[in-house]
């Protein structure tokens, strides 16, 4: 039962990671690729970690070995660090791309370029 839950979490994580990679291969410009990258791979990795945490909890209740507690906590810390650094890193890439003069290619509205051209 718990094993099935862990398997479902792993499956969802792999599915979202796959869609994220397809997204960065398929989308037309840097900004839309960043959407695919930063959201979908972070979400997928959260689900992978959730699967690992469920597995560790199951093993902890079965064997009562404290290394599974360490496994669960360290996985959670790694994922929290990953979520923060991914969001900040994608913000840095988007800002750098816009400053280097790469405008969003198919775009319906671009308020930032309007402000920059006025200066």
């Amino acid at each position: 039962m718990i094993q099935t839950a862990a398997m479902i979490c792993l499956g969802i994580g792999i599915l979202f990671n796959t869609l994220g990679v397809i997204g960065i291969l398929r989308f037309p410009d840097v900004y839309t690729r960043l959407h695919a990258e930063t959201k979908m791979t972070t979400f997928g990795t959260i689900f992978l970690a959730l699967g690992v945490i469920i597995y560790a909890g199951w093993m902890l209740s079965g064997t009562n070995d404290s290394q599974y507690l360490t496994l669960a906590i360290h996985t959670a810390i790694a994922v929290i660090a990953l979520a923060f650094t991914n969001a900040t890193g994608s913000h840095a890439i988007a800002r750098a791309a816009h400053r280097s003069g790469q405008l969003p290619d198919p775009s319906v509205v671009d308020r930032l370029a309007e402000v920059k051209s006025r200066d």
């Binding site: 094993q3 862990a6 398997m7 792993l10 994580g13 792999i14 990671n17 796959t18 994220g20 990679v21 960065i24 291969l25 840097v30 690729r33 960043l34 990258e37 930063t38 791979t41 972070t42 997928g44 990795t45 992978l48 970690a49 690992v52 597995y55 560790a56 290394q67 599974y68 360490t70 496994l71 360290h74 996985t75 810390i77 790694a78 660090a81 990953l82 650094t85 991914n86 900040t88 890193g89 994608s90 840095a92 890439i93 800002r95 750098a96 791309a97 400053r99 280097s100 790469q102």
Partner: protein, 85 residues
């Protein structure tokens, strides 16, 4: 259960190769940085799963260090591209 972890790791390895395709063909430097960032995230996920597959809890620490430090390279490249370094 271990087989399932192994399948997940193998799929992540394939995904890393596909993301490297974007790194190879990406027309501009920001595209390549996006691909590198994707690979970072996938590698951290793969390291967590590998730690479970190999049964070595201490290996998850590598994933923590990796998640915190791979960010440094992304920030340095972005600062250079944006002309702030």
């Amino acid at each position: 259960m271990n087989d399932i972890f192994f399948i997940a790791i193998a799929v992540l390895g394939l995904l890393i190769l596909f993301a490297a395709l974007r790194l190879a063909i990406g027309p501009t430097a920001p595209d390549r940085v996006v691909a590198l960032d994707t690979i970072n995230t996938l590698v951290v996920g793969g390291m967590i799963l590998l730690a479970v597959y190999l049964g070595q809890t201490i290996f998850v620490d590598v994933a923590i260090v990796y998640a915190l430090l791979s960010f440094l390279g992304t920030i340095a490249i972005s600062k250079y591209i944006g002309g702030e370094l």
